[in-house]
């Protein structure tokens, strides 16, 4: 969360998104272990979450690459010019 708000490099933003997703997965699995371990629904959900994070990583990184190709820069503070 700290990185998501304060980092200006688009790739660092992406790192922090992955960290947050990992933390959510960890929560899922941990709670499923302690609340209802017989039905391992938390682990199954975590598997889906990992796979969807992989899909989102592919698309997000493609967007970052295209942005770099067009602007030669990945600083999101400078890229605010897109708004105008």
């Amino acid at each position: 969360m700290y990185g998501l708000v304060s980092k200006g490099n688009a790739l660092r933003l992406f790192f922090s998104i992955e960290i947050v997703i990992n933390a959510a997965n960890l929560n899922l699995v941990a709670f499923s272990r302690y609340i209802s371990p017989a039905s391992i629904s938390g682990q199954t959900f975590a598997l889906f979450s990992i796979a969807i994070a992989a899909a989102e990583a592919a698309v997000g990184l493609a967007i970052v690459m295209v942005t770099f190709r067009l602007n030669q820069d990945v600083d999101v503070f400078k890229l605010r010019k897109l708004k105008n």
Binding site: R12, R33, F48, A54, M65
Partner: protein, 168 residues
């Protein structure tokens, strides 16, 4: 179990330390590599939680595919290394949000009965079998939708990233 607690502390330290390094390192490439170490730490935590299949799945998918993808993108996207002044105008906001979330989580964990939980004993003896059963019976439809989502994301990523040939 003392060994379990020691392992938990060590692996958590690795995970959090690697995450901090991945955000604060001077070069983005080092950040990408330490992000892979953070994923490894999370896999270790999954193993402590007896979720062995999820841990291996995480290693294969996150480290094997996503970290490699990130590394390739980082190699392609870094500009020239210029010692520009560190410009993070929103860093105090970030630290404030992190501290607030940390306090909230600690307060919730301390107030609730989390510390009295014991690992339940009704854990399925073969986790892979249980996951396979649930994936093919109860979660079969989400599985197919996941395949569609992955296919669509591959098509989208390739469409976005392909190089247009100049029309002469």
């Amino acid at each position: 179990m003392i060994e379990e607690d020691i392992a938990f502390v060590v692996i958590s330290a690795l995970t959090i330390g690697a995450a901090i390094v991945s955000l604060e390192s001077r070069q983005v490439v080092y950040g990408a590599i330490s992000l892979a170490f953070s994923f490894l730490g999370i896999a270790g935590l999954f193993i402590i939680l007896d979720a062995t299949f999820v841990a291996l799945f995480q290693i294969i998918v996150y480290i094997g595919a996503i970290a490699v993808l990130i590394l390739f993108t980082v190699m392609l996207v870094t500009k020239e290394i210029d010692p520009h002044a560190k410009r993070e105008p929103l860093q105090p906001v970030g630290i404030l949000i992190a501290v607030i979330i940390g306090i909230l989580v600690t307060a919730v964990a301390a107030i609730s009965s989390l510390s009295n939980w014991a690992p339940s004993s009704s854990y399925p003896s073969s986790v892979v079998l249980a996951i396979g059963n649930s994936l093919t019976s109860q979660y079969a439809i989400p599985l197919e939708m996941l395949a569609l989502i992955l296919g669509a994301s591959i098509v989208g990523a390739i469409t976005l990233a392909k190089v247009e040939k100049e029309q002469q």
